[in-house]
């Protein structure tokens, strides 16, 4: 299923519902559905914050494709190039005073999804493809 959303934080709840609806026919556990919703929420938040640099600057095209033993999720935006290597690595084994917010979303996406691939094309923009293998 494919749907286009405005790049605003208010639509995150709708994106979550769309993810759940898209995988309704696949036999996923409640825990897997929640994890997919979380990964997509973090990816969409990163698009608004880092690719568009603010709310209301562009659209987010989301595709969720359940297949045998996996779910393929693609997010596309036309914002600034996003290079995951520019994001500082998230570190949790430090005292609480030293913890930084930046990188937590990306860390989570990698922890949840089995494949994460960012691509930037000058004409098309950013495309993030994520695959979750379902046991």
């Amino acid at each position: 299923m494919q749907r286009s959303f405005t790049g605003d934080f208010e639509i995150l709840a709708s994106i979550g519902r769309f993810v759940a609806e898209s995988v309704k026919e696949a036999s996923l556990s409640e825990s897997d559905v929640y994890a997919l919703q979380l990964a997509v929420d973090e990816a969409a938040t990163n698009i608004i914050e880092y690719a568009y640099r603010d709310e209301g600057q562009g659209r987010i095209d989301l595709t969720v494709e359940p297949a045998a033993h996996k779910v393929v999720i693609t997010l596309h935006d036309t914002g600034q190039p996003f290079d995951p290597n520019d994001v500082a690595a998230y570190v949790s084994d430090v005292p609480i005073e030293e913890m930084q917010e930046r990188g937590a979303g990306l860390h989570l996406i990698h922890a949840i999804m089995d494949e994460v691939d960012f691509k930037f094309d000058k004409r098309k923009g950013n495309t993030l493809q994520m695959v979750k293998v379902i046991a």
Binding site: A13, D41, I96, E101, A104
Partner: protein
């Protein structure tokens, strides 16, 4: 998201339900700040009604914990954390920053 705050004798109890994400986390932060700005740093967050919490929400909890623990003036305790939210708190190593309680009454009593 819904937030209900109650000032108790030993601490403040904040019940949070619904969804905490980038659209709503600021509202939760404001509710916690209002209590801390009033000089009360012992806080129990009852998360039993939460459906969803993104990393923005966890970061709100971390900021609250930092402010409460400064100068040993208090602590933020988490109660009733839903299973799926707890699993994801573990993924980013955040649950170890909080004492977790199954029952908010037990959390309140620990102060």
């Amino acid at each position: 998201m819904e937030i209900n705050s109650t000032e108790l004798k030993r601490c403040d109890l904040i019940e949070v339900s619904g969804r905490v994400d980038s659209a709503t986390a600021d509202e939760l932060m404001a509710a916690i700040n209002a209590i801390q700005d009033d000089g009360r740093y012992k806080i129990v967050l009852d998360l039993g009604g939460l459906d969803f919490m993104a990393s923005k929400g966890w970061w709100t909890l971390i900021q609250a914990q930092k402010a409460s623990k400064r100068y040993n003036r208090g602590e933020v305790l988490l109660a009733n954390v839903p299973k799926m939210i707890k699993e994801n708190l573990d993924l980013v190593g955040i649950s170890k920053l909080f004492r977790l309680f199954d029952d908010p009454v037990e959390a309140v009593g620990s102060f």
